[in-house]
Each structure stands twice: as C-alpha cells, then as structure tokens.
Amino acid sequence: MGKFIYLDNAATTKTDPKVVEAMLPYFTENYGNPSSVYSFAAANKEVESEQREIIAKSLGAKTNEIYFTAGGSESDNWALKATVEAYADKGNHIITTKIEHHAILHTAQYLESKGIQVTYLDVDENGLVDPEAVRAAIRPETILISVMFANNEIGTIEPIKEIGAIAKENGILFHTDAVQAYMHVPIDVEELHIDMLSASAHKFNGPKGIGFLYIRKGVKIRSFIHGGAQERKRRAGTENVPGIVGMGTAAKLAYATLDERAKYESELRDYLIDRVLKEIPYTRLNGDRVKRLPNNANFSFRFIEGESLLIMLDMKGICTSSGSACTSGSLDPSHVLLAIGLPHEIAHGSLRVSLSEETTKEDIDYLVDELKKIVARIREMSPLYEDFLKKEKVK
C-alpha cells in the first residue's frame, strides 16, 4: 500500500487506541448489566456516572443533565420530537436553519407533516445565521429554536451565544446540534444559554454508535425511546457500557488537548486554504474565513464534479469528501452550498478537507500538489470548462 492520508475527520474519526483499551474490559470482564442488583454489575452504574461527570464538566453542565444515546442522529431526533410533544400546549412553531444536518432537517420536515410549523432561516454567503433573523422569526407559539453550533460541511461556527440570549429573553427553548463542534471548540452551556445539545462520540476519536443529549434540568421533555427505566427513565435500553466508557475516555482526552489542538489544526487549515486559493484558479473557499471549525476547509472548484475529484484523490491515497458523507450517493448537490448561494454546477464541485491532530504539513503539501494536477486533469475533460474557455477567447 502506498500513501494513506485521512482528511475526512468530519465524517468520522479514528477511535483512539487508548479509548479502545479503556473499553475492552467492559466486553469480556465487566460485562454486567448496570441495572442489576449484584455488585459485579452494579459497579458499572458507578462507571457510567464517572463518564457522565467527565462530559458534564466539559460543558459546564450537571452530571444528571447528560443522557446517553446511540449517536448524534438519535439526539437530534429526540430533542426535536420530544420538545414538540412536551410543549404542545405552549405552541406548535419551531425555528431552525436551512443548513442543518439532515438529522435535524429531515426530522423538522417530518414534524411539518404532523402539522408543526417550521421556519427554516436563511444564512448569508458565509453560512452565518443572523441572530436578528432568529428574533424576527419568533412568534407567540414558538417553542423551540434549533441552530447548529458549527456546520458539518463548510465549518462555519454560528453565533450561538447571541441566539441563546435571544431564546432566553423570549423564554423559548434553545437546542444546538454540536456534533461537529463538541471537543473542537470550547462550549459552556451556561454562558451560551443552551438548553439542549447533541453530540456524537465518533466525531472526537470515540467509538461509533454512542452519543449524548444534554438536557438542562427543568426542560420537560420525556422519552423518545420508551421502555426500561435507564437514563433516569428518559432513554430505555440496556446501557452500552463499553460505548459509554469509550465516549467518556475520548472526551477526557480531547478536553485536555482542546486548545492546543485547535491552535495546531487551525494553523494548518489556514496554510491549506492559502495555498489552494493561490495556486488553483477558479476556486473559492466555502464558509466563513474566521468563524470556522479549526479542522475544516471546504472549496469549490469550478467546472468540476465532486465525486470524480474524490475518486482521483482516493487513487492517490487521500481520503476526503464532497458535501456530507450521508448524502453521497444521492444526486442532489449539498443543500448547504445551495443555501449559501452557490449555483448548482459549482455546488457539485465541492471538496471538504477535515484535519486531525495527526495531520502534518507534509500531508497538506502532498494534498495540494495532487489536487492541482487532478483539478487540471478533470477540467481538461469538462465540457463546462471548454465552453468557458471559448467564451473567454471571444471576449
């Protein structure tokens, strides 16, 4: 095998070997069901509590405000659907944005089919939500504002604090999908007035299939998955102890390195952005230049379709994505890129590069060098580029 450079950390991350090590005893040794009476298993309840505490601390939350789920999608579904149900007497309107992940967007559309009113806020050309637009969208019957912390495709970080303050002022619950942001930027639920927050372990070097929903004490939502009395009766199902330990361990490790990681990755990211914009013509950066996840860069190369680009990069041992992983295979261009105003043919030609702390400057140099060649090669093959050149000549 030749080169292997993984630059798709926004899709998923490598589980840290230390995390796996921490999980291992809970498969074959301490495998007991935490709800059991005997000490062998009941000890796992304690272990769970410790993980909950690690996570709570990282958010400025209380231990009993953290509820384990099977991942970001479940957390998002829970937050939206259960809020709508619990606050039905208060109103039937929710506010979200056009650039949410499908876990929010499709859930909101589902709720619309059940008679809920949904406002999907526009964003500006950098993907930013205007807090004043949030305020303007509030109605007497608004029960929930859900705005993602940072966008998974273009990396833009939203003005969460401002939106949180508006929500609080108006007595409306505020949920944020922080799946991309948690453990990549600092988050304090008190300071930001966040009432609910979704996260997923596999986005910060934890295992897949485990996540959590932070629910502020006093928020009256009930279960999304009904059954046993786990998670203070709010989320049924035998606890995924190895997964929980994996997520807790990953959170502990990631929290300790948050600042230095962010610094390292954002410098590398800026180096990447600068080189690409300078060296490859007809290219734009998507997302805000400054209010941006430390590990995210997203480009559009005109006259180029994304999948070809990805496959050619793959042939050079480079893993990247176009749009979000979940929608690849679909024929539609990214709803996020359309929302920031890109025309269809440009939206089709986007590339997301998401770094990790293991990414090196050499990796980035290799990427950019290959990218230049590949973009040139695909453009050679593109009828759109042909037409463009012909028009240029005429001028």
Binding site: E307, M381, P383
Partner: protein
Amino acid sequence: MAYSEKVMDHFEHPRNVGEIENPSGVGTVGNAKCGDIMRIYLDIDDNQVIQDVKFKTFGCGAAVATSSMATELVKGKTVEEALGVTNKAVMEALDGLPPVKVHCSLLAEEAIHAALWDYAEKHNLKIEGLEKPKSDIHEDEEEEEEEY
C-alpha cells in the same frame, strides 16, 4: 461506491477524451443541476461509418466511465450499428453499475443519440429509429426503494 474494476479502469484511463474540430455531429446532454453533462463529438465518413469519436464529461466516476465505454463501443461502427448501442450494452461492457448510477449509462446512450441527431440534421438525413433526444434523462429515474 463499489464500482467494478472495469468502471475504475475507464475512469482512471478514459478513452477518447477530447474534441473534434468540425465534427460531423456533436451532442450535449444532461444538466449541471443534476451533476452530469456529457458531450460527444462524432467524425462520420461518407459510408456512415464512425471514424472517430471524442467526449467531454462533467460528472461522477460512472459518468466518465460510461462516456468512455460508449465511445469505445460506437467507434468504427456504422450509424445504424451505433444506434443499437444501448445503455444496457454500456453497463454490461462495464460489468455493471451501482443502482444509483444507472442513469449515467442512459445519459451516455442519449449523448450518442444526440450527436447522431445533430449529424442527421446537418446532413439532412433521416435515420431510421432515431428520435429527437431528450436533453435530460433524469425525469426517468426511480427511487431505489420502490416499495415505500
């Protein structure tokens, strides 16, 4: 994506990429909205034999590979024979395509037809069995999950 080796080969080493100056016929199908555009150039001699064919494609791996394979399949054929090159033939020659990518083979068939139509119009010919091509085949598509 689970492309076959043949698809990958034609994607990595596409045959007949390029333009033909003063082609006998040229056809462009698809649209940027859907993410694929194919353009086929034909050089057809007086015996209605396709002497040369070139393509340019904006699109995914399957779009490039089907364009490449389609040009290979029609090269050296008569116009009539070329008309018989269906999307099925292209798919088979590529050892199949993932279900979501079947439309690319339809687009390739359509691009050939569009170039032939252009050739026919320019030369005032009527080609038996050739209908005015749709520029966009996406309307034919089906959801993968038919049952719900």
